[in-house]
């Protein structure tokens, strides 16, 4: 069988190797900080209902009297979507910091990202905690 010159072969492998590297990095991100399987170049689209559109972000202010939900302003919508797709600690921290910047006097905050799991029996959805971060 005729073999390609080595130089040609190596160059032809660069893009496929990048694809594999990125897909493995996406797998790692998904395992480490619950990066959405639909995002990040790992080809997990249409493989699961665990995706940004079915995740929600909740911010709670914690005090001695209990906890109260903090409304997220429209201006933070992109950051909120970012947190849903990639709920790593730094993003949750950033969301809490941005909220504090826009709202004076906020106490201890807890940022939570919730996913949706559907019952295989009757498709009833159930909330499952994806990530959580508390900021003082």
């Amino acid at each position: 069988m005729h073999r390609l010159p080595p130089r040609v072969e190596r160059r032809a492998l660069v893009a496929p190797l990048l694809l594999v590297t990125l897909a493995l990095a996406q797998l790692a991100g998904s395992a480490a900080f619950r990066l959405s399987p639909w995002k990040g170049g790992g080809f997990g689209m249409f493989s699961t209902n665990d995706q940004g559109g079915l995740r929600s972000v909740r911010v709670l202010e914690l005090s001695a009297g209990g906890e109260r939900r903090v409304a997220l302003p429209q201006a933070l919508e992109r950051l909120q979507s970012h947190v849903r797709e990639a709920p790593q600690r730094s993003n949750l921290e950033r969301l809490a910091a941005e909220l504090r910047r826009g709202t004076e006097g906020l106490g201890r905050l807890r940022v939570e990202v919730w996913g949706t799991q559907f019952s295989p029996v009757d498709l009833a959805p159930e909330r499952v905690l994806v990530a959580r971060f508390e900021s003082r």
Binding site: L4, P5, R7, V8, E9, R11, A12, L13, V14, A15, P16, L18, L19, V20, L22, A23, L27, S30, L35, S36, P37, W38, K39, G40, G41, G42, F43, G44, M45, F46, S47, T48, N49, D50, L54, S56, R58, S81, H82, E85, A86, T116, Q117, F118, P120, D122, L123, A124, P125
Partner: protein, 275 residues
């Protein structure tokens, strides 16, 4: 090679990124390549196209779709192939491995890593909640528009207000068999494509499987950009003597566009009186 370059440029022109400042430069350079063949054959033009398809991946992180990454890999493959002594051969190798890798990871997610795909739950939910699949749910799953609306309303309330789930929701009886059929079909064809493109012994069925995937999947899942790129890569990896396959790839590319632009499934629903 010229046909592959032209189709690739056409795809970059038609399915560019969302933001205007990412889309317009890419369309300008792609359009220039289509109008000026010497520009299209120059590796430097493709290096520029690689930059124009890659930087949005960083800018938009983590929102880019999988085919946005595949677009950048394709441009990079062409760039590097054009610097080789045998460009067509190098591009054939890259395209084949890109298709194989894409379907390998897609299959890995679906069959191994996902907790809700193999049992059909993913497709049952998607048929009810994703508008792109609603026509299919009505045509073959026995769903009514009222059922789809009820599911959508309940899910939106569940996600946005934190309310509970109405226990009264009844899944149409035809939906589960349809979801299971879609699951089985997708599993077979995607793993088949991964194997055929990565394992030389299955080379004979490569084109049949990939063209069948393009002609069926994108009839409902109108992810035009992904379909375009797969058909372009399919075309790029064809051997010299596979003329019919090359024609079929280009024809399927236009079929994918027709699926998106012609509301054929809605017309069928109307004709069958299911609306």
């Amino acid at each position: 090679m010229d046909l592959v370059l032209r189709v690739c440029l056409l795809v970059l022109l038609l399915d560019a990124p969302w933001f205007w400042f990412q889309r317009v430069p890419l369309q300008l350079v792609s359009g220039l390549g289509l109008l000026w063949p010497a520009f299209a054959r120059d590796a430097r033009s493709w290096a520029l196209l690689t930059v124009l398809t890659s930087w949005p991946l960083f800018w938009n992180w983590p929102f880019s779709d999988n085919h946005d990454y595949l677009r950048a890999f394709t441009a990079l493959s062409v760039t590097l192939a054009l610097t080789c002594a045998e460009p067509q051969r190098a591009l054939r190798t890259s395209a084949r491995l890109l298709i194989g890798g894409t379907f390998f990871f897609a299959s890995l997610w679906k069959l191994v890593l996902s907790p809700d795909w193999l049992d059909g739950t993913f497709f049952r939910v998607t048929l009810l909640s994703d508008p792109r699949f609603h026509d299919l749910a009505v045509l073959l799953g026995g769903a009514s528009w009222e059922t789809l609306d009820a599911f959508d309303t309940a899910l939106t309330a569940f996600l946005s207000t934190g309310s509970g789930w109405p226990g009264a929701f009844v899944e149409p009886p035809g939906l589960r068999p349809l979801a299971l059929a879609l699951t089985a079909f997708t599993a077979l064809i995607e793993t088949g494509i991964a194997a055929a493109f990565l394992w030389p012994r299955l080379a004979r069925v490569r084109n049949v499987l990939l063209i069948a995937f393009g002609a069926t999947t994108f009839a409902f899942a109108t992810v035009r950009g992904f379909g375009f790129l797969l058909m372009t890569l399919g075309l790029a990896q064809c051997e010299e003597d596979e003329r019919r396959a090359r024609i079929a790839y280009v024809a399927t590319l236009f079929l994918i566009e027709a699926y998106r632009s012609v509301p054929w499934s809605r017309m069928l629903i109307d004709a069958l009186g299911l609306s």
